[in-house]
Symmetry: D2
Subunit: 320 residues, 4 copies
């Protein structure tokens, strides 16, 4: 059994991790750290867990953890990693953005559909962003064949859980319900990791990626739509996508245009390819808290520990 620890245990991504790990056949949830909730039952912060576990939040991480998930939020992981509070031999999976961009650190970018072999031998993983995951899954097969040679146009809509647990003006129900809005248009912070990955597999990639992020009146999920001018037929591109994802259990190339609820509460991605008006258009959906965060973190853990990639991640869809 893998002994797992979580730091930043009271937030949304930690909650989803706990839900998965409690049901994972090869994991013992050893220690969930939350300063604000130390000593309380996990279900005080995650009330759906009542009846499932009587674990309590710790104030300090157990030193017996084999793997530690960092869920404290962007900008905080670095201090934790550098603070020498983590067990020396533990593998680390960071769900923040702190280590996603290559630099003077040993974290590998944990997108299995891009870096599976590297992940298998890695000790430190930077788990990708939610928008970044969905958009990369739409573009990687094209980049792998050097087909991104025109500007790429992306619009994508996210559920409110992407904004985390702290209440804000844009997560107030009275505002967000029955509403729609854009934010950070053409300058969302995930563009950095998206471009880094595209450059990794398409040599010399330097096309602009124009990205309009939208806030939707829903809680979970991301729908991304990407298009660019391309001579190839829809069939050719679809075949390419099917080949690219043939060995990747969580990605399905669908014949129909996806809606978010087809994957909500699962670790799956659905990708659809079509051609209209001279443009190849790729649309994809994921659950931002699963394939876009905690599910992908467990997928990475499975790979790092030599387990079947899907272990503990065959989840029933919500569908409605």
């Amino acid at each position: 059994m893998i002994k797992a620890g979580i730091i930043g245990g009271a937030g949304y991504t930690a909650g989803e991790l706990i839900r998965i790990l409690l049901l994972h056949p090869e994991v013992e949830l050893l220690s969930v750290v939350s300063r604000s909730h130390s000593g309380e039952f996990l279900y005080t912060a995650h009330p759906d867990l009542e009846g499932d576990t009587n674990l309590k939040f710790d104030s300090e991480l157990s030193q017996h953890a084999d793997v530690v998930f960092l869920c404290s939020g962007h900008g905080k992981s670095k201090a934790i990693v550098e603070g020498n509070i983590l067990p020396e031999s533990a593998k680390i999976i960071d769900l923040s953005s702190d280590y996603r961009i290559k630099g003077e650190h040993d974290f590998m970018y944990g997108l299995p559909e891009l870096n599976r072999d590297v992940i298998k031998t890695a000790s430190y993983i930077a788990n990708p962003g939610c928008f970044a995951t969905c958009i990369q899954l739409c573009l990687l097969p094209l980049a792998s064949k050097n087909l991104l040679n025109k500007p790429v146009h992306v619009s994508a809509i996210t559920g409110s859980t992407g904004a985390g647990q702290n209440p804000t003006d844009t997560t107030h129900f009275s505002w967000r319900n029955n509403n729609a809005s854009i934010y950070k248009p053409l300058k969302h912070q995930h563009l950095g990791e998206i471009k880094q990955s595209l450059e990794q597999i398409q040599e010399g990639f330097q096309q602009p990626v124009h990205f309009i992020p939208m806030r939707g009146a829903f809680t979970r999920g991301i729908l991304a739509t990407c298009y660019l001018e391309l001579d190839e037929s829809a069939d050719t591109i679809k075949k390419l996508f099917k080949e690219y994802y043939a060995g990747h259990p969580f990605v399905t190339v669908s014949d129909s245009s996806p809606d978010v609820k087809r994957v909500v509460s699962t670790n799956k991605a659905l990708i659809h390819v079509q051609k209209e008006d001279g443009q190849i258009l790729i649309s994809g959906v994921i659950d931002n808290l699963l394939k876009g965060a905690s599910g992908q973190a467990v997928q990475n853990m499975n790979l790092m520990f030599g387990l079947d990639e899907t272990l503990g991640l065959n989840l029933k869809a919500i569908a409605f």
Copy 2:
């Protein structure tokens, strides 16, 4: 492996059954019958299943099924059962209301928290209604101690999936979103099975049960609130509930007032007891498609086949 068949395979309850059974470790999904979709992939009717299964709808039920789930809707199961099209030795679990009221038939009422021992040896099960399940879970412990001696007042709100798949005025998004309404106040059809169960365990029960059903602007879940005048203290009643449900794995007596999303996408029920103004008030939540329909059907199947009651039913909550 139990070989399972489903009749009426294109509807909501069938879809949820398929989602569960595909992940159930002791079940082989043998045959899913739908006249309207015969020959098509299951995922044409249940698009979240794309990538999970390539099974197709059958036009006729396989005669090798060990258990058959009837999902064709109220009023249709009787014709199926009497039509001699089901395998003679198959156990039957009917998700419609056709056999819930005792009469000239061999179906047992499949509420495990009321009838577990009977279910274990039954061949034919009438699966309870969704409102009926939630309300009975709030009242059964009281009835078991003959404490229902005053009129019982129930208000309960349901998600739209309770109304099924056929589009109607009250399931049109433009109407139901951001809205609330009542229907069939004081005369909902589930009152019959509720009273039948209360009479079963409280001898001479004859109190009125006043029930206001409400339609909510959500898709899954039921919240029921029940109160009656009672001398006993909240602590006494809470202790009674904890004892009653001690051996029932899906029911948790919670210290906090439940909201629907604490159980959505699970087979769990959360029940809360409090006392205010001389009234004992019980509130409970379930997912109408799971504990209120398909999850309970699988729970019944597990019991009928001598399996652990929870097998295949430890489901991750949606939480958001």
Copy 3:
């Protein structure tokens, strides 16, 4: 023209007042006070007003106001009234709960369907609570004929705007969307003003009013359902309601069971009467921000200044 001032101008009820008063033919919006937004355009706090007005928030109330609306919230109006900062001759309409219960003050309870004649000559009005308005409209005609002689059972569901602007756990979109819950069951604070009104018109009224308040996944509106044992027929009671509300322009006795969106964004109330199982059941809907708050405040203002009660309050419904 009536010169109107508003204190506590950045909140929800103030916003709705501003929307109404800007279109009111007999009102000049003189001064909207908000400490937190002083000097800013009104549309910084109420962004739908951009393009409609270039008024700015004041730090102090103009002393030329003929009427002042107090919108600072429960518990704050008393300090304002006693602080001698209001123009001496100004009429005051308080939207908080501070003066709703009779006591050592000069405020009259501003429910026109109960107290219209008194309101016409009043200088100080305590504007009713939202739940209280809806429930009273369901019960007043019965009380007026001394028909409330059995316990009254009420369940009512409210939109999120009833909880105000401050973000809380229960107004977080990720939680409230697609959800349902109850709160303060059998002990909601509006019971006080409801009982006070019933006692006012039914001599010796002393029946319990059991009230289950519910939070709905919608933004605006209240649906209340009230029932009690009563010998009279539905027709008799319906006739009584029609007579009671004959001269009240905002209340319609409907032949059909109402849903919230039939009145959202209007000052209307729809009331439906039926009889089931020996119980007379009254259901009613209002918009909590209009008939339940700011619309009713303007209705009171109209009456206090001798205007047509409906002036500025013929509002287009949202319907969807």
Copy 4:
């Protein structure tokens, strides 16, 4: 008083027209035709109208109408116009798409912000589409200065009322709630009228307009985001927009990025200009049933009859 008739009176756009016209100071609603509802009260189809009007649906249009609104839906107006059932002298405003594209007919395209002078003298108006209105308002000022010289990229999201009243798979609450999806990407039928208008005011315009339409989990409103490569600064373009819309009362150029609910239930449009990454980005919001349909129809009527353009259209926003 203008005598108004409506054909196709039971649908969404007709309902919204009735709501407006009943409150319009210069209109008498003479005749609302619906074959399916003939003889019934208007409020049987539009239940929010109960208490507001006792008008009934007609089977035939009164021949005394001064203006007739055609609301029967796309493809049906032509048969009505050619069927000689309309009063000869009546002005006609068609809310369908039948006459929006120039051809062998006398209908003028009724977008006041493009064609106000023409509309004032027209007898027959083709009322623009909802997406088309919003997108044109984002692009017209640029076209008026010949600035559309690069491909234009548009993503836009619409509420469910845009899909009309007939229940469909994509307007079923169980599906649409908490969901997001795209449809007709890069080939939406409104592109025709959009390009026609751009060609009208930018001579030689021939850039592609790439348009991704999205379905949102909300009922009313459209948010459109449009961008293209442009050298000019944000300030320059913003100034241009302010000048273009200076005389147009329903369009406001806002300093902040708009969300849908800032205009829902009003006839307003909010437009925001920014520059990011070398692209000028214009975002705009309207209510699809008002400025995108029935409100604009009344705006056109006002212009055609020489009335103030805003008469009857100063509507309170819903805001929440």
